[in-house]
């Protein structure tokens, strides 16, 4: 089911309706979150943290994980209260929920990964304003039972995090010539030797380290996704053409009739 259909269906259902049927099956939820409706590549939500903190893998992973946890938590909570909140006040209620989860994450990060907390700085509290989270709460969690909502939050968060990490890896590799540096900030002492110096004696490419590089990197990632989608479409079209013209109702008067 496509997202437009999904929203259409959701708009049709009354808010107070006791629909316990998820509006999409689980496979669709997974596919939507990771690829087809990816919050970073397709919806282009949460651009601000994405462009600002993805200068290294560890920063991207840290923020991606935080967003993932907030997204799953808020989706579950929103889904639980979906039948008890009046329509008029639903957005403030969602924001309060998201803000509480964000505060939890912020405190947890302050406690366990203090240096990363300092590096990410303002962008952790800013998770509250990440449109991807509020968007999923309003578009999906407020209309679906708990389990699909949790899965949707997890998959959307995973899709977001995957793009964040890909962008972080790209920028760290091109910008500094390393990968996985400073992973101990997030994963503890075990990761202290993970730093992989890909190019020795590499001059830092400041442009890629700075936010403008993130724009170009994200553009390349989106172009890559569109390219893959286009190729898939062509493959399906070719497959259809090969499978047979039996569906064709037109009478062919020239060429070879197969």
């Amino acid at each position: 089911m496509s997202t437009s259909e999904e929203t259409a269906v959701n708009l049709d259902t009354d808010d107070t309706a006791q629909d316990n049927q998820p509006s999409a099956n689980y496979a669709d939820i997974i596919y939507n979150g990771i690829w087809k409706n990816n919050p970073a590549l397709v919806q282009l939500l949460g651009l601000c943290p994405m462009l600002a903190v993805t200068s290294t893998v560890v920063n991207a992973l840290g923020l991606g994980l935080a967003t993932l946890v907030v997204l799953v938590g808020s989706n579950i909570a929103v889904s639980l209260i979906r039948n008890y909140v009046a329509d008029a006040v639903r957005l403030p209620a969602f924001v309060m929920i998201i803000a509480s989860f964000t505060t939890c994450i912020e405190l947890i990060m302050q406690a366990y990964t203090y240096e990363l907390y300092q590096i990410l700085g303002i962008f952790i509290p800013l998770i509250v304003t990440n449109c991807a989270i509020l968007g999923r709460a309003d578009a999906f969690a407020s209309r679906n039972p708990v389990l699909p909502s949790a899965l949707d939050g997890f998959m959307m968060g995973l899709g977001f995090m995957a793009i964040l990490v890909a962008l972080g890896a790209m920028r760290e590799l091109i910008g500094q010539g390393t990968l996985f540096s400073d992973m101990q900030l997030l994963l503890g002492e075990a990761a202290i030797h993970w730093k992989w110096v890909v190019f020795d004696d590499y001059p830092n490419v400041l442009f890629v380290v700075l936010p403008p590089g993130a724009f170009i990197g994200l553009g390349l990632l989106i172009a890559g996704k569109n390219f893959l989608d286009e190729r898939e479409k062509q493959r399906i079209a070719a497959q259809k053409a090969k499978d047979g013209p039996s569906n064709s109702k037109r009478v062919r008067v020239t060429g070879q009739v197969s």
Binding site: P203, N204, L206, V208, P212, I216
Partner: protein
């Protein structure tokens, strides 16, 4: 062909193909290149060679990826012109990978991703220059000094230049010095008179060498004017605005500002005015628009030189005004014969 859609008058004349125009611009840079080589050694020529090869290769590669005719587009010399402009703008001893990065970024990202020649909103050469200037500030600030002023007292030989570009010349520091603009920028607490007396970068030999470079580009630019490849509007407005700005601040603040003559004859003033700002694709089209566009660049150059973070501001000034060029063009459409008065500006509460 993309270029035929451009309304710039100087590419529409009979018999003047894109390749002819591009070739003429390349030839017009020759006096400047010769003077630069004479003053700063073979580095410029080596840079030009590297840039040319990199430009043609990256243009061919991206054209192949876009499934466009490669030979046809390579023969319009536009990639080569971008390479020449970049090779001139980069410092003579800059490592080869900086040149390659700048050129390939200019061709791939600034030009071909937007659809190739005629569709790029920004001047490709300046995009490439700005990228490496932001990314690699250290090699980009190492200009060679004139032989009589630098510590070693001699010029880099051809092999030394090659060595500096492809390896690392350990003694390169004794050949480099701040350009006059750089020196003036970092005069710190000195007032301008004592700065001109004490700072090595602001001695007569150093300033004169940049004067020669600028005169050479002025000559090339006048040749382009004579050939009617460019019109006088953009360069005149640019230099005029720079003159007015620097003159104004020189009159009011003589102790801290440099003279208008200094501003017009150092750095990339002439090169920018005649070769960079006049790019037919990314600059304004109408004559009045060109005046505004050039004046904007001139003002920005002075602002960036005086209060900005970089010693020279031609690249950023041109890029910023490229942003504004479509808007300027929109409000400076000339009146066609027999038509009503052209749109000249915002009219509150009416669209007529």
């Amino acid at each position: 062909m993309a270029l035929l859609r451009i309304t710039s008058p100087h590419t529409q004349r009979a018999g003047r193909r894109t390749s002819w125009v591009m070739q003429m611009v390349i030839y017009a840079t020759l006096p400047g290149i010769i003077v630069q080589t004479w003053l700063f050694g073979w580095g410029t020529v080596i840079n030009l060679a590297i840039a040319g090869v990199a430009a043609l290769l990256s243009e061919a590669a991206i054209l192949a990826m876009r499934r466009r005719p490669i030979r046809f587009f390579l023969q319009d010399y536009s990639a080569l012109l971008t390479a020449v402009l970049l090779g001139i703008a980069l410092p003579p001893t800059v490592p080869w990978w900086v040149t390659v990065t700048a050129v390939s970024f200019a061709i791939v990202f600034a030009k071909q991703i937007y659809g190739g020649l005629g569709n790029n909103p920004f001047n490709p050469a300046m995009v490439g220059y700005a990228i490496v200037l932001v990314s690699f500030p250290v090699p980009m600030s190492q200009w060679l000094g004139v032989s009589s002023v630098v510590a070693s007292g001699e010029m880099l030989s051809f092999s030394q230049s090659l060595q500096a570009i492809f390896h690392q010349l350990p003694v390169i520091d004794s050949y480099t010095m701040a350009t006059p603009l750089d020196g003036f920028k970092h005069k710190e607490l000195l007032d301008s008179q004592s700065a001109f007396e004490t700072l090595p970068a602001l001695q007569a030999a150093s300033i004169d060498s940049w004067l020669w470079v600028n005169l050479a580009y002025l000559m090339g630019g006048l040749a382009l004017l004579w050939l009617r490849i460019i019109t006088w509007h953009t360069p005149a407005a640019l230099l005029g605005a720079l003159l007015v700005m620097s003159g104004l601040f020189y009159v009011f603040d003589t102790s801290n500002a440099a003279s208008p003559f200094f501003h017009l004859t150092t750095g990339a003033a002439m090169f920018g005015a005649f070769f960079i700002a006049t790019d037919p694709v990314s600059s304004c089209t109408s004559n009045r628009g060109k005046l505004i566009y050039g004046a904007g660049i001139g003002i920005l150059i002075y602002i960036i030189r005086t209060w900005g973070g970089y010693p020279d501001g031609v690249a950023f000034g041109v890029l910023l005004m490229n942003f504004a060029a479509p808007l300027i063009d929109y409000y400076t459409q000339p009146r066609t014969y027999g038509h009503k008065k052209a749109k000249t500006g915002l009219k509150i509460g009416g669209d007529h």
